[in-house]
């Protein structure tokens, strides 16, 4: 093999090796950092794991929001119209957070309560997060919401 080819082969082998290691590490990091998505029904029926970082999507149930009078703590129900999950959160809610609107919350389930570390609301009047659509589709209540708009 001439030296030029040999160098090229070494470079390509090195690159493949490097890329392989990198992709492996990336996939490992991915598997450690994904958050699974659950519907309110899955949480109410206990399908969702306790004390693991997950996402839940659904609608904020009308009239379910309560506030602690002395701190920033709030609690509200997220519903897919079959089941509700009680969510607690301490902090500032997004501007578009409303009762009766779609929401995605991230956090952990503990003793049947969902302690949220982050609340995401939609940023556009006509936009529904795919997770929320999915949750409502599963509970067969999507038409109800769509019909209302």
């Amino acid at each position: 093999m001439n030296p030029k080819r040999k160098q090229r082969l070494l470079i390509i082998l090195g690159m493949v090796f490097g890329l392989g290691i990198a992709v492996g590490l990336v996939m490992y990091a991915l598997s450690q950092n994904i958050n699974l998505f659950f519907t309110p029904t899955q949480i109410a029926t206990g399908t969702a794991p306790d004390d693991q970082f997950i996402r839940v999507g659904g609608m904020v149930r009308e009239g379910s929001m309560t506030r602690d009078p002395s701190s920033l703590q709030v609690a509200f129900d997220v519903t897919d119209f079959d089941h509700n999950v009680r969510v607690t959160y301490t902090g500032i809610l997004p501007d578009l957070f409303r009762e009766g609107q779609g929401v995605v919350v991230q956090g952990r389930v503990h003793n049947g309560l969902f302690a949220a570390t982050e609340v995401l609301a939609k940023h556009d009047e006509n936009y529904m997060p795919p997770e929320v659509t999915e949750a409502l589709k599963q509970s067969g209540q999507l038409d109800k919401i769509m019909g209302r708009n």
């Binding site: 990198a22 990336v26 994904i34 958050n35 998505f37 809610l93 995605v104 556009d124 997060p129 795919p130």
Partner: protein, 658 residues
């Protein structure tokens, strides 16, 4: 009738784009100079037609023509005129029109500034640009026509522009970003033209380089503006969220950065040619993929518009044609490319090769992290999301490696480094940086952080390394003046951009590790401590804006017994959409930003309030600006003009004997 005129101009542009892509290509293969010569005028015509179309839509916004559905959905009688202008690109259809217009503007630029380029080559480049134009204009005409009418029942008033977008940041962010995104299509077109013509050589790299660099600069400005806008308008003080749409712009940026460096090797040494072509294809394909992700609504994102799946299918089809077509061409042609010359293991080529490897790995990891949820979902694994911890885990170590390349690379000679003693000052600088970097976090607010120390070490080392490189070159040439004349603008651009990287890294490390941040319940009269300051909630009042009503709070910030400043954050409710918006009060500073925002009313006159001190946050964007500015400096290099000058003198020579 006016809107129909715009639609007609768009259809005309479509027809011109078809001519622009077919005629010069046919002329090239049949060697007919008259057909080849049509490319430039056609590109100018297409630009003109799209400019007319764009102007008509803009006019529709200015005169409140609510019979145009797009205007009715995104404007309002109360909307100030400057936001009516920027509303043109505030939603799907209009932003596509802007995209098509910018593509045509790049085509015009190529026809005007390519006098150094042989006509055959320029016509091929313009033909490829024409093909991309066909794709985008067809997309508009068939799925998202911005001139669709609401007749005979035109509404009396519009629904208003999304209040998030009623901000000066939006006036500049999308056009800048698109200039970058679409500018990569020029690099792509050059690569395709070179493949078609079978001349992948150093000359091709020299033609392609300034176009790639300027597109990269725009992309850098666009991303930085977007991040800045997110910071003060929607992010609650965050500056980057690893949101799919942000990632969609970061991925092409990383690939384009690799492309710029790979082009340097191709131009100077004639090496890495196949790789460079592949990067050019990847950079443009990835910016198309980004568009697909944004426009199809397959991912959860703050940028996602309400949209229909038909559009996603169209872009996906377009993407497959572009990637499939160019890779096929690549497969046919690139095999014949031989790589002349060799390089030693310790050479600038090696450093740049590894730089490319790291940047590619970065791009692939962001891509994987962004697409992983889609992948899992389509495989029936349920809905998942990938959070910032993943991206941080990948980016921090890779950036550290990349910085060390940036320190050693520029000081290494091409082909083979003979005298490694030149590295000594760099190693000394590294030791100095480590010591200074380890001490620095103790001077900052909050707990000691090893991540903050790492960021400081890297930033300082990069600045010192660049300074050493500059000094070596001054010594080499004897004086500053000789040096600055000899090395060319390219080097000054590189130094500026590399220092920009250091500034950004430092800003990121400080903000991410030393931000003091408090969410509180406060009412008028309440006092809270924030770092060295004391924040007093003075009063709350109702005010009336042009198209919104707002609660405005006044906070006084005291430094000991001295009143430092009074700031007034607002909570707005926009009249037309009833959307609520937070207007944070930010006091920017060289070493820190003071950030105060109103959350929601909690009853009894109390509000949720966010107070934070963000150390060195403006350095993130200052550094990005330096990077982009470095790109602009680099393209002023004399050698890009010399090609043209040489050609001019050739013509003179030819004329002279006659």
């Amino acid at each position: 009738m006016f809107a129909e005129f715009g639609h007609f101009a768009l259809v005309t542009a479509f027809a011109i784009a078809i001519c622009q892509s077919v005629i010069p290509l046919y002329g090239y293969f049949t060697q007919q100079d008259t057909l080849i010569a049509t490319a430039k005028p056609l590109a100018l015509l297409q630009g003109f037609a799209l400019a007319v179309s764009f102007a008509v839509l803009m006019h529709g916004f200015l005169v409140h023509d609510f019979s145009i559905s797009y205007v009715a959905n995104n404007s309002n009688l109360d909307l100030p005129w400057y936001f009516r202008l920027s509303a043109v690109w505030g939603a799907h259809e209009g932003s596509l029109l802007l995209w098509a217009l910018i593509l045509a503007v790049w085509g015009v630029a190529v026809s005007l500034f390519s006098r150094g380029l042989p006509d055959e080559m320029a016509s091929l480049v313009l033909s490829v640009l024409g093909m991309i134009g066909i794709g985008f204009i067809a997309f508009m005409l068939f799925t998202s026509n911005p001139f669709e009418r609401l007749l005979p029942f035109a509404p009396a008033n519009g629904q208003d522009l999304n209040p998030l977008l009623q901000d000066p940041g939006l006036i500049f962010h999308p056009p800048m970003l698109y200039m970058g995104y679409v500018g990569l299509s020029v690099a792509y077109a050059f690569a395709m033209a070179a493949l078609i013509a079978g001349r992948l050589d150093a000359t091709w790299a020299r033609w392609s380089r300034p176009w790639t660099t300027i597109a990269w600069s725009f992309l850098t400005f666009g991303i930085a503006l977007g991040s800045w806008w997110a910071y003060y308008e929607l992010g609650w003080g965050g500056w980057w969220f690893w949101d799919p749409v942000e990632n969609a712009s970061l991925i092409p940026w990383l690939v384009a950065t690799a492309l710029m460096h790979s082009l340097a090797v191709t131009e100077k040494r004639g090496l890495f040619r196949s790789w460079t072509v592949l990067l050019a294809i990847a950079a443009f394909s990835l910016s198309l993929l980004g568009t697909f992700l944004v426009r199809s609504g397959v991912l959860t994102s703050v940028h996602a518009f309400a949209n229909d799946p038909e559009r996603g299918v169209f872009i996906l089809g377009f993407l497959i044609v572009v990637i499939g077509g160019s890779l096929t061409l690549y497969a046919i042609r690139a095999a014949a490319v031989s790589e002349p010359g060799r390089f030693g293991w310790l050479s600038r080529e090696s450093w740049l090769l590894f730089n490319n490897l790291i940047l590619t790995v970065m791009a692939i990891s962001v891509l994987l992290g962004t697409l992983y949820p889609l992948l899992v979902d389509s495989l029936g694994g349920g809905k998942v999301s990938v959070g910032p911890p993943f991206f941080n885990a990948v980016f921090v170590p890779l950036t550290a490696i990349l910085v060390s390349f940036m320190v050693f690379g520029p000081l290494t000679s091409w082909q083979q480094m003979k005298d490694t003693r030149q590295y000594r000052p760099l190693i000394v600088a590294g030791l100095v940086s480590v010591i200074a970097g380890l001490v620095w976090p103790t001077q900052m607010l909050g707990a000691y952080s090893i991540a903050s120390a790492l960021g400081t070490v890297l930033a300082l080392w990069l600045v010192l390394g660049t300074a050493i490189d500059i000094r070596q070159r001054i010594l080499e040439y004897g004086s500053v003046r000789v040096m600055s004349r000899k090395v060319g603008a390219g080097f000054f651009g590189m130094w500026t951009a590399h220092i920009g990287v250091a500034v950004t890294i430092f800003g990121v490390a400080m903000v991410e590790n030393h931000t003091e941040h408090r969410d509180l319940r406060m009412g008028p009269g309440d006092v809270q401590a924030l770092g060295p300051y004391e924040v007093r909630f003075m009063q709350l009042e109702k005010i009336q804006g042009p198209n919104y009503a707002a609660d405005r709070a006044t906070f006084e910030v005291w430094e000991g017994t001295r009143l430092y400043q009074a700031v007034m954050p607002e909570k707005r409710v926009y009249n037309a959409s009833q959307m609520v918006m937070t207007e944070a009060a930010i006091d920017p500073g060289f070493t820190r930003d003071l950030y105060i925002a109103l959350g929601e009313p909690l009853g009894d006159g109390d509000w949720a309030v966010r107070l934070s001190i963000k150390p060195f946050i403006d350095w993130i964007w200052a550094g990005s600006f330096l990077m982009g500015f470095g790109g602009i400096v680099a393209i002023t290099d004399r050698r890009y003009r010399r090609v043209r000058a040489r050609k001019a003198s050739l013509i003179e020579d030819r004329v002279a004997p006659a």
